[in-house]
């Protein structure tokens, strides 16, 4: 059975002056356990909205999401809360998604204890687990008593990743998880995620505008355009034989090392 089934999902927002924004407009796909799906598409095409719908953080206008054959929206709230630990999201905007009044230690230990309630009272064990988690995402564990605003943009992004990994989820939707990271730390995070996929069978939807990163990490790529999925296929194939003109345009605009200092243009 597929781990995740998305069936005809639709989300319409009321737009300005009585118009409707069709953010997600009939999306259907499924994902097997251990599979990594790269989700790409232009800014505003509906990637973050689709992610939120899948994790029930936003009610759909219509359509269903099945996790291991179960429709979460039909389960009692207590069950949903427990099941939700298995499905985590790394949000696009790390600052807005972290509680500014909690130290990194509090944020992460809470997330760990959600999975291991026995740890809640054990401060030593908690500290050790938090430190281990921080090191895995390349953060100095000595910074665990700091608050989110005391970190740099890329450090905050890694706190958000650590928090999503803390409850040992089975599905992660990572929305631009490495966009603010320098290339070396970006590689460290990608290696970490790839290890979890390989060793623990983690399933992942990886949203990114960085096509070389998506190509590296994803088995399959799906291209979204104006609320719809327009092209899906194995990563290599979509890259080398794009069928849709939008996909081709996307590939052509990828910046390469090139010196145009005087012209200031990227493509």
């Amino acid at each position: 059975m597929a781990l995740l089934e998305v069936d005809s999902l639709v989300k319409h927002f009321p737009g300005p002056r009585g118009r409707t924004v069709k953010a997600v407009d009939g999306v259907t796909f499924s994902l097997e356990r251990g599979q990594v799906l790269g989700l790409v598409g232009e800014s505003g095409c509906g990637k973050s909205t689709l992610s939120r719908l899948i994790l029930q953080l936003l009610p759909p206008t219509s359509g269903r999401v099945l996790l291991e054959g179960e429709c979460l929206s039909s389960l009692p709230p207590a069950v949903v809360r427990r099941r939700r630990l298995d499905f985590q999201m790394v949000f696009q905007d790390p600052y807005a998604s972290l509680n500014p009044r909690l130290t990194v230690f509090s944020t992460l230990s809470e997330a760990i204890a959600a999975r291991h309630p026995g740890m809640a009272g054990n401060r030593t064990a908690c500290t050790e687990a938090v430190a281990a988690l921080m090191r895995r995402v390349g953060l100095d564990a000595r910074a665990m008593r700091k608050y989110p605003h005391e970190f740099s943009g890329g450090q905050r992004q890694r706190i958000a990743i650590a928090r999503a990994l803390a409850p040992e989820p089975r599905l992660i939707i990572a929305d631009e998880p490495v966009s603010a990271l320098d290339v070396s730390i970006q590689s460290q995070i990608l290696n970490l995620l790839q290890g979890l996929v390989r060793d623990l069978g983690l399933t992942m939807i990886f949203v990114s505008h960085d096509l070389s990163v998506v190509k590296y990490i994803a088995d399959d790529i799906t291209v979204m355009y104006q609320g719809k999925l327009v092209e899906t296929g194995p990563a290599e194939e979509v890259f080398h034989h794009p069928r849709e003109s939008y996909t081709r345009r996307l590939l052509e605009a990828v910046p390469r090392i090139r010196f145009g200092g005087d012209r200031f243009s990227s493509g």
Binding site: R158, G260, S266
Partner: protein, 329 residues
């Protein structure tokens, strides 16, 4: 146009003094474009915030240095004068869109405010200009969309609203902190072209922070590489890419994902970023170097920048300059 000398910005926290920026010098000329790349947490954003004094003080404090702009020091001038420069003469695009957008105000209000306050433009005129500014960054349906609130935009659209806001008063200097991280490549190109036109047409000078080396290579004429609160290398862009002299710069180039093979683990720089509250007395990059290189890194005094060839500066640490030791064990 802007001359930063030996800037030092420290945070005085419960756990000690964080030396976030520790002696950074930059030189920006009219129409020029200066890139800053470097490790996450190396002080790129704090450098830029310092120039506009946007850091909470305390905990932040300037421990030294100056930032000359038209013969005045931005770090010490009265706040009232600085306010006239901020947003009008120097525009800034922040790394985190939501820190500079007000969630309770419509985008139209936020975009027209600088025009009305700084330039005294009337309501209708300001709205027209704001719509045009949104169209210029590729927001479809801008006449309608401008009346929405920030949370009704996507991540990349919010980032573009902020870019439009920073450019709308036609500043002389644009500070862009990771301005295109949330943009797909087609929109990114449009935004970079827009900034490029501003440089050509109005002589806007740009400080461009990015971790995307490909973007930096196309956009900047001169690049500074930061590590642990300091500049480890600075050179004209082509020279930096073709002839990197510092081990950190070389390691960064090696980590570019496009150059790597699928399925194999990606190259990463070994070790951890330096702890900025316990600065090493010697070369800060030494712990990240292979053992044999480390043995020749400066241990007791900090490496100073030297001009290795005209315009190409590098921290003078033997263990980091010697490329032959990059893979030594």
């Amino acid at each position: 146009m802007l001359s930063v000398e030996n800037l030092q910005t420290f945070f005085h926290t419960r756990e000690g003094v964080v030396r976030a920026v520790d002696g950074v010098s930059l030189e920006l000329s009219k129409g020029g474009s200066l890139g800053i790349v470097g490790e996450s947490g190396s002080g790129k954003s704090v450098t830029c915030y310092s120039l506009l004094r946007l850091l909470p003080m305390p905990p932040a404090r300037f421990e030294g240095g100056s930032a000359g702009f038209e013969g005045r020091d931005l770090l010490t001038m009265p706040v009232k004068e600085l306010r006239a420069i901020r947003g009008r003469r120097i525009g800034m695009i922040f790394q985190d869109p939501m820190t500079s957008l007000n969630p309770y105000l419509r985008v139209s209000t936020q975009l027209t405010e600088p025009l009305r306050v700084h330039l005294g433009i009337g309501k209708a005129g300001a709205l027209d200009q704001a719509v045009a500014a949104l169209q210029a960054v590729g927001i479809a349906d801008a006449e309608q969309r401008i009346h929405s609130y920030p949370h009704e935009f996507s991540g990349g659209m919010r980032q573009r609203v902020m870019i439009a806001m920073a450019l709308i008063t036609r500043p002389d200097i644009l500070i862009a902190d990771e301005p295109t991280t949330a943009l797909d490549v087609t929109v990114q190109k449009q935004v970079l072209d827009l900034i490029g036109r501003r440089r050509e047409d109005l002589g806007t000078a740009v400080i461009f922070i990015s971790h995307d080396l490909a973007v930096v290579s196309g956009v900047c004429d001169y690049v500074h590489v930061m590590y642990g609160g300091r500049v480890v290398e600075a050179a004209p862009v082509r020279e930096l890419f073709e002839n990197p002299l510092h081990a950190y710069t070389r390691a960064l180039q090696r980590s570019i994902p496009a150059l790597q093979e699928k399925g194999k683990p990606l190259y990463t720089i070994p070790g951890m970023p330096p702890d900025l509250s316990r600065p090493s007395p010697g070369c800060a990059f030494a712990p990240r170097r292979p053992a044999r290189a480390r043995a020749t890194c400066l241990a007791n005094h900090r490496p100073e920048l030297v001009e290795a060839s005209p315009g190409h500066w590098v921290q003078d640490c033997p263990g980091c300059r010697d490329e032959g030791l990059d893979d030594a064990f």
